[in-house]
């Protein structure tokens, strides 16, 4: 079952990745696109394929995987299906860190300044949320803490951008809150990739601990899971992935909520399998959403978060309703 799921998800990623490379305002034929991408035929065509479309497709897959995996990990640790980096303000806090790094010039003077500052923002948010919600992650505390952290991060992001001497900065509040992959470059791929890869590797290695945790903390501890170490690893790894993803693409919400929810039945609700499945599923979702924004409004920069929210918010309401019926 899980092997079939993995193959289906990988096949979907391959198809969507290819589509993402073939769609764009330049209107190149698939043959021309491939010749330009692989053999570098034609200066303009090669630049379009290698410097504009390739980084966009890579970033969509990478950021989707990061957000899907981060969502699954937070849900596994807190044993709460409502946990998600966007909803809990982790993405928003990462965006605040990124905006501060950009506007103070820290990002310009130090290459890794941008993702590191976003990581710091994300660490503070995840740390605060987990400290507030406690290991059992009561739904009400979790969501309320998330609302407070999101609102504060959004307000401070708006403040920093409004204070900027740059005439364009204030109009970019939308980008930081909704996310977009338009006109990103290979530079952004190289900035985000190491942090996302490191976070993913660390989290995927914790599968057994997450499985044990489904039996309760005491049982998990008796099975040899070091809970305080697991918490530290989770905070740092989630922050590293969400921070890097947000630093280059803005805060894209709901990916970490929708993907684990859809995939959970297919992996027999095993957190360890859900981790890698959600990484693959997140890549599928963001690649598809990024293709959709280009098809719906080709010449305008429709934000990615608009589409993920249209899919994700009704699901979130459904989950809130279900949680309410079960009693908070």
């Amino acid at each position: 079952m899980t092997r079939v799921l993995a193959l289906v998800l990988i096949a979907l990623i391959a198809v969507l990745f290819a589509l993402s490379l073939l769609i764009g305002p330049a209107g190149l034929s698939p043959a021309t696109s491939l010749a330009a991408l692989i053999r570098g035929e034609g200066l303009a065509e090669t630049l379009v394929m290698r410097e504009i479309r390739l980084p966009r497709a890579i970033l969509a897959a990478m950021i989707g995987a990061a957000l899907g995996l981060a969502g699954a990990a937070m849900q596994g640790y807190l044993r709460n299906p409502l946990a998600e980096p966007g909803l809990l303000g982790v993405s928003g806090s990462a965006a605040l860190g990124a905006v501060i790094a950009l506007q103070t010039g820290f990002a310009a003077h130090f290459t890794l300044g941008l993702p590191l500052a976003a990581l710091v923002g994300a660490v503070l948010a995840v740390g605060l949320i987990i400290a507030l919600a406690g290991p059992r992650g009561g739904a009400l505390t979790l969501i309320l803490a998330g609302i407070a952290v999101s609102a504060l991060a959004a307000a401070l992001t708006a403040l920093v951008l409004n204070l900027s001497p740059n005439p364009f900065a204030a109009s970019e509040i939308m980008f930081w809150m909704m996310g977009s992959l338009a006109d990103r470059s290979m530079t952004h791929v190289w900035l985000a990739a190491p942090f996302i890869a490191l976070g993913a590797a660390v989290l995927l290695a914790q599968g057994r601990a997450f499985d044990a945790l489904t039996l309760g903390e005491d049982s998990a501890a008796s099975l040899g899971v070091n809970l305080s170490r697991l918490r530290l690893v989770l905070v740092l790894a989630v922050a590293s992935m969400v921070g890097a993803a947000t630093a280059v693409a803005g805060a894209v919400g709901f990916v970490g909520l929708v993907v684990p929810h859809i995939l959970r039945p297919f992996v027999g609700a095993r957190p360890s399998s859900l981790l890698w499945a959600s990484a693959l599923g997140g890549a599928v979702l963001v690649l598809a959403a990024d293709i959709a924004v280009r098809l719906v409004l080709p010449d305008r920069d429709l934000k990615l978060g608009v589409l993920t929210a249209i899919v994700g918010a009704p699901l979130f309401l459904h989950l809130v309703y279900k949680t309410r019926v079960q009693g908070l």
Binding site: P25, V48, E51, G105, A108, P165, N166, A169, E172
Partner: protein
């Protein structure tokens, strides 16, 4: 009710006071728009212009910054402008309608000048500001001088190199824009017209690259950082500049319809050579 009556009385008194002042040339002129600032500084009598907009002190967009530093600045808000007791306020066509409306209700005469969208409108704009300031003769001289200088500069080569105007957010200017006129006068063809853009609009970077312009004229970078401006130095644009296109900068001289555009044309012609 009493408050409204009081404010009506105040407005009437102020309108009367304003009406008396417009009999001769205005004695206290306040400009709240970058472009009217520049025309007013060129044309006003000493002491006639009492305040200009804050933006005129910004070296990024103001071509007359040194001159502008000699004038006190305002922030274009009705309250502070009113406190300067002007008998004429110069504003732009798109200056906040609330500000303009409030000033007019307070009895202040506000002249709104249209945006200049072509080189041939500049002499008219100079004469209009001259008329408002009561400096017609001076304006006539400046307008004639501008027209003569422009005629001397205008290039009409057989083969026009193709230029791309690339601003933040991939914005560009098509026909019926001052930037397009500057390009044309300097002897270039604007690729935005090939792409079918009229007026201003966005030209996706992919399409700009496919059009392979001979010259890329980039918008300038403002202080602070923005994602909007990051397209100006996107690796694909840098690569096109390195391997194919020449580069030039669209700066303060391109912003307003004033004689400064002549310098923009000259610099562009030098970049093309």
């Amino acid at each position: 009710m009493a408050l409204r009556r009081a404010s009506n009385a105040l407005a009437a008194a102020l309108a009367f006071w304003g009406g008396v002042a417009v009999a001769g040339p205005p004695e206290r002129v306040v400009s709240i728009n970058l472009c009217t600032d520049q025309l007013a500084m060129l044309l006003a009598e000493p002491g006639q212009l009492v305040s200009i907009s804050r933006i005129s002190h910004d070296p990024n967009v103001s071509v007359m910054r040194e001159e502008a530093l000699r004038y006190p600045i305002n922030h274009g808000q009705a309250e502070e402008v009113f406190a300067l007791a002007p008998d004429l306020v110069l504003a732009g066509q798109f200056t906040s309608s609330y500000t303009v409306g409030l000033l007019r209700r307070l009895g202040v005469e506000v002249a709104q000048l249209p945006i200049v969208t072509g080189l041939d409108q500049i002499p008219g704009a100079i004469r209009e500001v001259g008329r408002l300031l009561g400096r017609d003769a001076h304006a006539e001289m400046l307008a004639a001088e501008f027209s003569a200088d422009l005629a001397g500069l205008r290039a009409d080569p057989d083969r026009r190199p193709r230029a791309a105007l690339h601003y933040a957010n991939n914005y560009t200017s098509g026909d019926k824009s001052l930037a397009n006129d500057i390009l044309t006068a300097a002897g270039f063809a604007n690729i935005a017209l090939e792409a079918g853009l009229s007026g201003g609009g966005t030209l996706p970077m992919e399409r700009l690259l496919m059009l392979m312009p001979d010259l890329i004229i980039s918008g300038q970078h403002y202080p602070g950082a923005s994602r909007s401006e990051s397209v100006l130095t996107h690796p694909a644009m840098n690569a096109l500049r390195d391997r194919h296109s020449g580069s030039a900068l669209s700066d303060a001289e391109w912003v307003c319809g004033t004689p400064a555009v002549l310098r923009a044309i000259t610099r562009l012609q030098e970049a093309g050579e």
